[in-house]
Symmetry: C2
Subunit: 466 residues, 2 copies
């Protein structure tokens, strides 16, 4: 074990950390000259090559700069965190932010089969209007006051009952309301991670996991995803090789593949997680789209090492912000403190709106209709993509996503760029793939793929890319 702590590589680690700390503390200010390699090596009693390695690494991360013939200097000014610049520079066409921002910024004349949500016309408009009218008659506390630290109690009670229907036993005191599924995962990451910690994700996975983990300065390791969950052999190997702190995954209707965890894989994942002391974040924002409930890690595990995440952005409204965390009992106090420190409270109005729509049965009716509508749209999209040579990796049981393989030799990023020039936002596969091995795939949202123009643009972009 001593060999791991010490050795040459680790001496360089120590130098890097020391100099980085001095820059952070501004003992070394922007523009200051670092000691020469030879002098520094001598004083530190390390070899020249150790100092060279440390300086090279600091230069690569932009903390210091070399001026040929003169030496190394602290870079100026201190660069703020840029998610676009951490990690390898990406072609903007497969940069996760590109998809998100293109979709968010798109005008009405833009088609967006690459976006991850339903068109507003598919959302329960009447129920939202009715809930807003009811809210306009609420008492003044509801309209103007902060919510309680955990969030609206009757909504947490209702969420606990809904989870129980899926076999997840959570008391309302284990549920914390937050602003969205993304916010929920971010809060858990802030609670558990430090810069340099390792996190496992599926490959492919929701592209925003990559961006978020970059913001946490985590080391991200991908595990290939199969139609029944992560590849268990490679998952086990990743655990022993990388000793991750966290694994973030979707159990049902995985984004982008639409695949669903099998009971056997769920059991094996949890067994390995137990042995390795791994925490799992189960992002379950697509749960309500399911026709038949898939196994949930949180149900198997009982919220011991699994944190369960949900939200209403995909099924009810993304305009009001409401998500939740169901976490191990001992974590709620710390998560709530962290939530108060970083954004004070969740929106009481949003919670009231969600509660009133969930309570009166209109959400259940809306979801029943939505499942039928999505099923038809999925069939239509698959049928329309077939003549173009695009085939689904699997046929998902439910949900809006379809992960499609392009004909051999076509480049998804290239096609996406050409389509964007014609006002169609596609989602190229590598945006979802840490190993960048999915450039033969596109992710389609079947609810956003009903306009014939989309297929015409896609066909033209594919033709031009050959």
């Amino acid at each position: 074990m001593e060999e791991r702590v010490i050795g040459n590589g680790t001496l360089a680690d120590g130098l890097v950390a020391t100099i980085r700390g001095r820059i952070a503390a501004r003992t070394l200010v922007p523009g200051a000259k670092l000691p020469s390699i030879r002098a520094f090596a001598k004083t530190m009693r390390v070899s020249n090559s150790t100092v060279v390695e440390a300086y090279d690494r600091l230069a690569a991360e932009g903390a210091i700069r070399s001026r040929p013939g003169s030496g190394f200097y602290v870079a100026a000014p201190l660069a703020p965190l840029s998610l676009a610049e951490i990690g390898p520079t990406l072609d903007r066409a497969v940069d996760p932010f590109w998809i998100a921002r293109q979709s968010l910024e798109a005008g009405d004349d833009v088609l967006k089969p690459g976006c991850g949500w339903l068109p507003p016309s598919w959302m329960p408009e009447d129920a939202l209007r009715k809930a807003l009218r009811a809210l306009s008659r609420a008492d003044d506390s509801t309209l103007a006051d902060y919510g309680s630290p955990l969030g609206l109690t009757p909504l947490r009670q209702l969420l606990a009952r809904r989870m129980a229907e899926r076999g997840i036993e959570a008391s309302p005191e284990q549920i914390l309301l937050v602003d969205s599924g993304t916010h929920a995962i971010d809060l858990v990451c802030r609670y558990l991670l430090q810069p340099g910690y390792t996190v496992l994700v599926d490959d492919p996975c929701y592209f925003n996991f990559h961006s978020m983990l970059r913001a946490h300065q985590a080391r991200v390791v991908g595990v290939p995803y199969t139609p029944s969950g992560p590849d268990i052999g490679l998952f086990a190997r990743a655990l022993s090789e990388h000793r991750p702190r966290l694994y973030i995954t979707n159990s049902a209707l995985q984004n982008p593949t639409g695949a669903t965890l099998s009971p056997v894989t769920a059991h094996k994942v949890l067994k390995l997680a137990d042995e390795a002391g791994l925490t799992i974040v189960e992002d379950d924002i697509f749960a309500d789209f399911e026709q038949t409930p898939a196994p949930r890690l949180a149900a198997f595990d009982g919220l011991d090492r699994v944190v369960h995440i949900g939200s209403f952005s995909k099924t009810l409204s993304a305009s009001l912000r409401c998500g939740f965390i169901a976490a191990p009992r001992g974590w709620i106090e710390g998560l709530t403190d962290l939530r108060i420190a970083t954004s004070f409270g969740s929106s009481r109005m949003s919670a009231e709106l969600v509660l009133s729509i969930l309570k009166d049965g209109s959400y259940r009716r809306h979801m029943e209709g939505l499942r039928v509508r999505l099923s038809r749209a999925r069939d239509a999209t698959i049928a329309r993509l077939a003549p173009l040579g695009l085939t689904p990796w699997i046929e998902p049981e439910a949900g809006m996503l379809l992960w499609c393989r392009l004909p051999e030799g076509l480049d998804a990023a290239e096609i996406a760029k050409r389509a964007l020039a014609r006002n169609v936002v596609l989602a190229p596969g590598n945006a979802f793939s840490l190993s960048r091995s999915a450039n033969g795939f596109l992710r389609f949202n079947v609810s956003q793929s009903l306009d014939e123009r989309m297929f015409e643009v896609l066909e033209a972009a594919m033709r031009e890319s050959r």
Copy 2:
């Protein structure tokens, strides 16, 4: 300069960083034994005392544990971030979270002169109801879709015009809508800080700044606050001694003192900030309470090194969540990326509600009435506190806060504990003071201090504390 980078202390820094990194990466797992001091010193070619220093520091931060007669072991399990445990352990009565959570959890029978917001009955209830009814008639995109990355354009345009009235030139493209003032500051901190960076705050200041900066693992340095802003001599000294990355402050109606920055101090603060390359976060959430606008750092500076923060939680509703950041032009792209990565988007519904209330003049009328009402409540509170021997540090020009000195020898934390037992939440001074030098002060919210029972409880608690 070489002396600073190297030397004995810094060798220990390197060892600490190396071992911490190995624990983070889980190369050293919980329970693993560390090398003996002698063996480790020999292999690292450092003195025994350097290794002892490194191990002692790691033990102090809880990363490793010593077992007498056996050696040092990696502590198990990996502890999640606990804001309550970082920094010195506080008496819960002066723990910032204590005040926040007591206030948030308080039932209707609890009086809370220590909380930092208005009673809901003081908020523009009719305007909120009207805005909700109008929103119930909005189009389906407004009801159900994500907002644009920066947030609702007409609201950003209106905010830019409102800032211009205070002399702050910000284009709508420099304004990013977020969920609250707290969320705004947290996002800026995530953008600019790394663990170990130093941040200046006023002493006393809003207690949640302390909690938030603990979540960022920042080093926090306090600068004594005077009735016209930070003490300039000590501010200058803190800059040269600590080289902070950020200074977080309120320019107008400072929390907790109610004091306001003078033009001369504003000039000096900015001059020193320019010389030191310091960024300033100007938290201006109390702006709309002012009778006459105070100087704004963002106005003097032109959003060059000043980030300006605002929110509607204190003046309109804390139930809908809406705040904003006006930042240097070059930062907006990075801040927006970070916002998408960590919570995807802001609430479009909240932005629409704020916009409709701001647009139709009802907000302006509400604020005019509120200023008069607060002014009367302030006079009444000062008059009622005088016979108890409580005197305001200054008489604020506006706002809800009153920073009051207790009679000699009384202990604010003790009084707060006794008052809580009688269902009155007070805000003891040391919760606001990094140096813990404000235990002779209580912060009162004049809008929450109109119930005679509060004064009776206060008097009894003071009597029992003598």
